[in-house]
Symmetry: C2
Subunit: 519 residues, 2 copies
């Protein structure tokens, strides 16, 4: 049944006509009761505009849309990446198998086979890592999911980085990116990880060629420094050209690939393989929690439902992800891809145009910095922006100082909580410029400490929140046909550039018009 035809949808539409007024309902009791706890994480959602009635209708919506059954099917390796009746990728989405490497949770053949293969890569990684130990620096060349997620996770665990080890990421075809990053590198101590599933991603191959030319210029042999992460049998699966090759599979989408070797090689180089395994363990724990039928325990399901309330019933077009954590400074950029590429869709799984809004626009920067910046609009602008706030009880480095009776970490948490409350409650004033309308919805995911295991939990929490929303909307969250047209036109445009030097005969008038104005 289509999302907008479910009986819960109609009920929720009715309820959205008069959502609770947070200015009056936000009490200490609500803080205590609108709080979900699992795996050491706490999700405070008393500052969302929901009532018990709304929550029950949302839980019914989850049932009606068979959200849990679909999550179970996904983890079991069913072909959830498909559009019925039309050619589609038609394959499983088995990123959860990448971390089902501890106790063999899933015994279905597809999931089990994927987990076995993932384990083989981890064993390979353990053997290859010592060969990378004389490198001080790794540069990962990859784009989209081969860059954003791995970079965000590498950055998030700064206090766990091994001394003297650095990882950089080159993604864009912009030559200045590679130039800037390679400028100060000692190539004799630098390894390069090239990540492309197909082995034919234009940006990645171009940057690899560029990087290899720099190694050759410096008289350093690329084949002793370059590592491939690609699909078995791809043009990049070539032992003569790489120090080592790791495999990835078509059932792990780019934006869901952080826990595969796409993230695993760089992360293990930085924090060691044992901590990488803790990271996988955290993600695996969240995978299991996502199967929990109690929506007050199943944090990603609960978060997905609250998001759907804000998106489809209160009609907010965007969501800001605000980590009160410097370590998570690049995490919103990963979530931007994860969410918007998964759920920025206009057809459902039957190929029909949807008559409701799908994925919102996701963006964000760390608080407290944001408070001195775009929070002005969030408090007093004309378009309310729901917030997903992330925070930690303790700092990661454990260094702190008492200034005017509080420590920095306490100031940070004070700001986090104050914003959540201020946005919900608003404030009256006779001066219209000091009036805050309030009722700006937000929720807080709070963890104890940002360690590898917790990072794995939080990563998978978001992966499953996104998947649950897709399941409920009945869209395909695992393909990305929308990125194809630009690729085709870019190739056409490149042929216009090449025309200057080669004998391309075809002509692209629109492209020519632009080039005439530019050159």
């Amino acid at each position: 049944m289509a999302f907008s035809n479910t009986s819960s949808y109609l009920k929720l539409q009715k309820l959205a006509e008069a959502p609770v007024d947070l200015k009056t309902v936000l009490t200490p009791e609500r803080v205590h009761s609108y709080l979900a706890k699992s795996l050491g994480l706490k999700l405070f959602y008393g500052t969302e505009r929901v009532s018990d009635e709304v929550l029950h209708a949302l839980f019914d919506l989850a049932k009606e849309s068979q959200a849990l059954e679909k999550m179970t099917a996904m983890q079991a390796g069913e072909k959830v990446n498909s559009i019925h009746g039309y050619p589609s990728e038609n394959r499983p989405a088995l990123h959860t198998a990448m971390r089902d490497v501890f106790d063999k949770t899933h015994e279905q053949p597809e999931a089990k086979k994927a987990a076995d293969l993932a384990r083989q890569e981890i064993e390979k990684l353990k053997k290859v890592l010592p060969k990378l130990d004389h490198f001080t620096t790794l540069v990962q060349i990859g784009i989209g999911g081969s860059s954003l997620g791995p970079e965000a996770i590498c950055d998030s665990l700064g206090a766990y980085h091994r001394s003297g080890k650095k990882v950089y990421f080159v993604s864009n075809v912009d030559p200045d990116e590679l130039s800037a990053i390679f400028k100060d590198l000692d190539l004799s101590k630098t390894g390069v990880i090239v990540v492309s599933k197909s082995g034919s991603t234009l940006e990645t191959l171009t940057n690899e060629t560029f990087a290899r030319s720099l190694f050759l210029k410096a008289n350093v042999k690329p084949e002793k420094h370059f590592i491939a992460v690609t699909q078995k049998g791809s043009p990049m699966d070539s032992p003569a050209r790489y120090l080592a090759s790791f495999y990835m599979w078509d059932y792990v989408g780019g934006r869901y690939s952080v826990t595969s070797m796409v993230g695993g090689v760089a992360l293990s180089f930085l924090i060691g393989v044992d901590r990488f395994l803790e990271f996988l363990k955290g993600a695996h724990e969240m995978d299991l929690l996502a199967l929990n039928p109690d929506p007050r325990k199943n944090l990603p399901l609960l978060s997905a439902l609250l998001g759907i309330w804000n998106r489809n019933f209160l009609n907010y077009p965007t969501v800001a992800i605000i980590p009160y954590s410097y370590a998570l400074r690049r995490f919103p950029a990963h979530l931007q891809q994860l969410d918007m590429e998964s759920n920025g869709k206009r057809i459902d799984k039957l190929g029909k145009s949807v008559d409701f809004d799908t994925g919102p626009i996701i963006w964000g920067e760390p608080g407290t910095n944001g408070q001195h910046s775009f929070f002005q609009l969030i408090h007093q602008g004309t378009t309310p922006v729901p917030l997903e706030i992330l925070g930690f009880k303790e700092s990661q480095y454990g260094q702190d100082i008492d200034v005017e009776s509080t420590f920095c970490q306490e100031k940070l948490l004070s700001n986090l909580l104050a914003q959540s409350i201020a946005l919900a409650q608003g404030e009256r004033s006779d001066n219209p410029n000091k009036y805050f309308p309030g009722n700006r919805p937000n929720r807080i995911l709070l963890a104890e400490h940002l360690d590898p295991k917790t990072m794995g939990q939080i990563l998978a929490y978001y992966e499953h929140k996104v998947a649950f929303q897709g399941f409920i909307w009945n869209i395909n969250s695992f393909d990305q046909e929308g990125v194809q047209l630009g690729k085709v036109l870019a190739l056409k445009m490149m042929r216009q550039f090449a025309k200057k030097r080669t004998s391309v005969s075809e002509s692209y008038l629109l492209g020519e018009a632009y080039l005439k104005e530019i050159f």
Copy 2:
């Protein structure tokens, strides 16, 4: 007259009922004629959903709202930062005076005085810089406008950085940020710029205290390493504690302060004072262009009008800023503050609630990376996202490689142009998943080369685009009352933390509820 009562508003509302269909109108001729050129910059706007009729109505709107007169008044030093009939900051917004240091354009006493003071600081800077030359590293401590803009501009000019010089920014009160950045620094070669206009910004003072404690621990004298940028007479204006003090003024708002010493000290350390002056020169050129009455020449005015068409008449809630430039990777975060803090307002200059939408939600990441990420939603999502694309004809470093008949910079430009066209034109397909609706509005600002002068132009282009939109909406783009409530509640919350150790008597029940759940 209120924005929504102008006759142009009504006309534009009518026109918005049937905007042009880009799928049919986008021709080479349109590319040539919907192109504005000034100062070596090119603004391609044929991919916006505008017709000549819409453009004329927008130009009338600019006249009716006296946009140019207000820009002239702003640059002349009139008190544009005010709300009539209510207590307000009630002062000029004279960031343009910071770069009116070449040929004394403005002779009005307020503007002239401000320009003279700005010149004094530049002279001071020339004297102080040699004293910083033995530093390899500067860390700038500041938050909001004292961090985002300066960081974005420092990052943007990587190819011009003096060899061996680095600048880092610490903004958040998160202790992990300072810990991570100071981890590997040689403090004997590190200077610290502390930026706070009031000299009492909580985050900044806390981080300064934290940083000073690290210097003392390392037996390095802070007073020989710390530099103040603050208002004359502030608690930070204390020669005994700082190697040098630079001044800023209340008529330069944080988010408009990049061209003052807030950005000037760090930037001059990185690229040298002569190039900093080129940067100012570029900004000054754009200031003058913003006074040009021809809206087809006045790029910031034209861009402001196109933005208002998208925001108020086509009703799009967000704008994505997509620089096809690694160097501009942090520029969208600066524009996020600049735009959302300036125009995220709910009252007009008479203190009345607006009955139209003000500033949109601004976000963005560099292309081409975004193409492999959130562009899925931009092409096929349910909420169209207007794009402001930025690009450069040449690369900054001048290093490049020919791979399969095109250079990287050509591939980069090909992608930029292809996306602009693909979003506008869309594509038909019998497979609903390969159908692109098109009519996704976007425009391209293209420059020759990302050098200091061009960066100054682009920075001021955005400052004036934002100011023009505020002038047309008749809101105050120069205050930020919306950030105050959170500060007040954060102090209340901090007192709850301090209670554990000190004898605070008052109690904040809501705060206590959260702390009880967390600790």
